[in-house]
Symmetry: C2
Subunit: 136 residues, 2 copies
Amino acid sequence: MDYSRDNMAGLLRSHDINPTHQRIEIAHALFSRQSHLSADQVMAIVNTRHSETSKATVYNTLKLFLEKGLIREVIVDPSKVFYDPNTSAHHHLYAVDTGELTDIDASQVQISGLPALPAGMVTEGIDLIVRVRRAN
Amino acid sequence: MDYSRDNMAGLLRSHDINPTHQRIEIAHALFSRQSHLSADQVMAIVNTRHSETSKATVYNTLKLFLEKGLIREVIVDPSKVFYDPNTSAHHHLYAVDTGELTDIDASQVQISGLPALPAGMVTEGIDLIVRVRRAN
DNA sequence: CCGGGAATTAGACAAAGTCCAGATTGGCGA
DNA sequence: TCGCCAATCTGGACTTTGTCTAATTCCCGG
């Protein structure tokens, strides 16, 4: 995959997002790493050289990417949300002591026996989180 | 089940927790309702008549109950943690628009095909969250 | 070059949760 | 019963994550 800045513009456009400088930088930070980042981490990466992007823009942009289905939100730690550039079906392995977050491919995993949804409700997503820690 | 205040003392003792006034009130709030409460909600319930328990104590006590295995933590909403007096195996159904959180009995649900854990790691728990919203 | 809507910004603000030093409590031995 | 001591509780300052707003900047079509 090509995650160069140049290609980010196309990616954004294909998701109906106006590609601006800041948005390209933020997309690049997430996609070139292919890892789970918090808003804080994204801000730090984007502003390494000199301050370029404000906090408000980082939060707004991440929310926009989320709405447009470009990235996913992973809620495993009460203190911060992680953003995941991998939107294909997958689950997560969370090391509670180190805070490390890894993907689990969903194609091997089967979940069966879930009860029917309450009437008038639709599933927005199913999150499966395996919490692990060092054996002592 | 008897979730009277009198019985809370025994419950706490059986989990190796010194039963104090405040701890009994907090346990009573959670267990008599059998529902998922946030720290804020616990504090509001405990202090309905007149202020009796400080914020610090509520947070400390919930953390203590958690360590001692008396309650569980449910992380579904980035803005607040819920505490669950039901520690038997079960999953959760989360209505993203209303914030309502319901239990899913785990006995009917099967999860298969999870990959082996990394060496030296043990599972602390598996959280399965079904996110739903109103169909439009 | 100009006007206007979209995007960005700094900084004030809000809410959840943590921390600390001092005050209170309650159980126990004398 | 009394006084002591460790455990517990407290108010309030503080931190962190995230939101909001009003003012500015950017960019594009004409």
